[in-house]
């Protein structure tokens, strides 16, 4: 049973056309992450939420935004996709609360492969 679900698995968007990627989880985890992964490289953290508390990485471009309307859902918005934004986008969750999140492994979705044309 999938616990972290990303939709769609493959997304094609036009250069400059806003696009939204979705992630949902059934684990009731406090922490949700968005990672960008290019060409089998290391996943690069874009931002993460601890509950509603949003944490943006310093080098994440302003073109990338995120929303977390509730515990289960998290969205990645790319306001004006460029060719360089073509990548696999990975959503992950982590148990949190009481300091246990640092001990816990992250659970990843299957990823959304974004193509920009």
């Amino acid at each position: 049973d999938a616990m972290v679900i990303q939709n769609p698995r493959y997304q094609v968007t036009q250069f400059g056309k806003p696009v939204t990627l979705s992630c949902s989880q059934t684990l009731n985890h406090n922490v949700m992450y968005w990672y960008q992964q290019k060409s089998s490289q290391a996943p690069k953290l874009l931002f993460h939420y601890y509950d509603k508390d949003f944490n943006n990485e310093a080098d994440t471009p302003d073109n990338f935004q995120s929303r977390r309307p509730n515990t289960s859902f998290c969205f990645l918005d790319i306001r004006s996709p460029g060719l360089g934004d073509a990548a696999m986008y990975l959503c992950a969750t982590n148990a949190g609360g009481g300091g246990f999140s640092i001990f816990s492994e992250a659970f990843f979705g299957q990823g959304t492969r974004l193509t920009v044309v």
């Binding site: 490289q41 996943p43 953290l45 993460h48 990975l90 992950a92 982590n94 001990f103 990843f108």
Partner: protein
């Protein structure tokens, strides 16, 4: 800042032979270490983790890893490789002073040949 190094882009082994995928780390505070595997066009799957205690950690699919504090290493091992183990392997670290930040190494592609 915390970091992870995986010095080998690719490791080639013959089926049935032991395998080692290397990982070294740098963190502030105590290290919490993880190994993940990624198959083509898939997300990352958790294999094992070291939090505290026994330096040899056993995980999924027959994999194990050895934590070495003095060498700041956490190498992934398996006594007998399978062709189906061929995949991309990532080591990750979270320092006790880093909150929820999980940092990945650059990945090592494991190729197991029949």
């Amino acid at each position: 800042a915390q970091s992870v190094a995986q010095p080998e882009d690719q490791v080639n082994v013959a089926e049935g032979n032991p395998l080692t995928v290397k990982c070294t780390y740098s963190v502030s505070g105590n290290p919490y270490l993880f190994w993940y595997v990624q198959y083509p066009n898939r997300g990352l799957q958790f294999l094992l983790k070291y939090i505290t205690g026994d330096n040899l950690v056993k995980g999924s699919y027959g994999f194990e890893a050895e934590f070495n504090k003095s060498q700041t290493s956490f190498h992934l091992k398996k006594p007998s490789a399978l062709v189906s183990d061929s995949a991309l392997y990532f080591c990750a670290v979270r320092g006790s002073n880093a909150g929820n930040m999980l940092t990945f190494g650059g990945g090592t592609r494991l190729m197991v040949k029949p």
